[in-house]
Symmetry: C2
Subunit: 374 residues, 2 copies
Amino acid sequence: MARPTYETRQSDTLAWLASAHVASETALRGLEGAEREVLRRHIEKLIDRCACRADRIARRGSSIADVTSTDWSSREIYDLHQNPRGKGMGARNRRYAHTVMAYFWTEYAQEEAAPSDLIHVTCTGYASPSAAQRMVARRGWGGRTRITHAYHMGCYAAVPALRMARGFVLADDTAQEADARVDVVHTELCSLHLDPSTHTPEQFVVQSLFADGFIRYSLSAATEEPSFEVLALAETIVPDSADAMTWVMTDWGMQMTLSRDVPTRIAGALGTFVARLYDKAGLDPATYFAQTVFAVHPGGPKIIDEVGRLLELREDQIAASRGVLFDFGNMSSATLPHIWMRVLEDPAAPRGTPVVSLAFGPGLTICGSIFRKR
Amino acid sequence: MARPTYETRQSDTLAWLASAHVASETALRGLEGAEREVLRRHIEKLIDRCACRADRIARRGSSIADVTSTDWSSREIYDLHQNPRGKGMGARNRRYAHTVMAYFWTEYAQEEAAPSDLIHVTCTGYASPSAAQRMVARRGWGGRTRITHAYHMGCYAAVPALRMARGFVLADDTAQEADARVDVVHTELCSLHLDPSTHTPEQFVVQSLFADGFIRYSLSAATEEPSFEVLALAETIVPDSADAMTWVMTDWGMQMTLSRDVPTRIAGALGTFVARLYDKAGLDPATYFAQTVFAVHPGGPKIIDEVGRLLELREDQIAASRGVLFDFGNMSSATLPHIWMRVLEDPAAPRGTPVVSLAFGPGLTICGSIFRKR
């Protein structure tokens, strides 16, 4: 994993968010002093009521300095006096490409061996060639490394990436190579896609949760330790929920919508889904459930609570999920791999520990996997 | 395959393009009658010199009525008096989502069996949930069909899609199902991403080539006829060519840049690449080359000419590629599958015919495959 350049305490990001929304509305409607104070109190109340509090997220990371100051005229994307929504899709995407190129370059600087496949996962910026392609070309790996873009799937995308990677490892021409290695790289720059001009409760939920995250891991047929063995993968789409969560392109960036009832909708499908995962893995829940660690994508604090309550989990079974949310926020598709890393490094989870991952995104899609720690 | 709603003769699309560029510049700079005439002659000259002529592309398809009239005030996206570049990314992407939803709905209306996987391939619009996810949810297939977004890879994306699909077929839990079937669906709406405000030679090349296309095919372990057996896949990135072709997001839509020397750069790497394909497939070129049909992605007429010349192909070996370009234009990632369909239906290509596919895109990436017709 790599941390974004700027890490800000949640209490500070919430104060910044309030100022950003006030500045945006002021620019749009030309508010005077008194009106502005009324608006500020309204927005602070909304944040108090809807935003994710500092006792659930301690800090969030961002790749832009914007969140560190309210001097709007000097902000790179959120120059809110001039652009009340922040700059347009083009500027945000250029910044994305620049940051992600730097990350790939650094991430692979010490890497001597070219991977056979590189899967680049993101839902927050798209350029072609991608930073993955540019890095591979510059390193002279273009003849060996196949590149796959796993884009625009949302928070659950680590599981489709595993599914692709497993297929690449199994496919003949990769498997023939003794050193076949599929790298998966997540680069999520959620902080580029805020909209300070929309003051709905939903937007304060979204804008107080998401953060930037960067992480890389590899899949291969090798069995070195410590690692995870992938036992089973599963995916399902919850019926009649297509509009409960959306992620679409607009002129100014990517826009998220989120219904209040997403945790309830997911909870309704979860019992069956988890049973199916154990079944696919050939593990009897009666034996293995109590020792399983749950890597639950922390869409927000409520979803972890809900999953824990529904599956009757002990607090230690979801501690890694809560910990990653607390330390870094919701880093979209990069979040689950951060939890995996924590479980892998945790001496309290011994060899043989089953790890059930659960992630959620537009569809509503529920994605899951079972690993065994080795 | 399905055809877009509007099909326009190339001579008419070129005339429309000239008018669109003049209207855009007129709106931007407030040109008067005489200046406008000078500009029109300049643009017509550029089109004459750079655009793809009607003897290489007969017709192009579009999903919007815009190209059928120069009454700019009533155009859906290219209301050029008001928006000299056309409407923004949001409007284009909404139109994309609407059209692609209708296509998926119709395409699967008669389909009774849910695929085990559905790979949605595009580089011209991204919404989450995608039309693929919405269709699967509405059909009640959410518990069975896994969905993968293969987005933003460009014209060569059919080959990564084959690579993913092959992995899914090989992966345990899919292979166990007797009726495992991976559907690949391409929906490309290139006509949504024109920029009539940029009058460079490069833009006239791009804007006179691309078109909309929709096509679906399936991969499975079955061996029914007629079909193709996938013998080998290969990919490579040409060194030092990352900026020769780009496809990036802007405020107004997706922007393509294209160097003049792309065909030369590709040609330089092609001999080795094709030899590697035959080698991976275990086919001796001395025996098989002369009977091979070449499915060459028609980036433009020049690339087919170049590949034909370089590999010393007979005209009948690349006739299907020329034919698809002539009939439909360059439909980005949907183009190669249209050529495959033509070869599959062509009685002049008997059972056993090797089919080498070659496609090109940002990276510069060269993707290829060898099939055998059965």
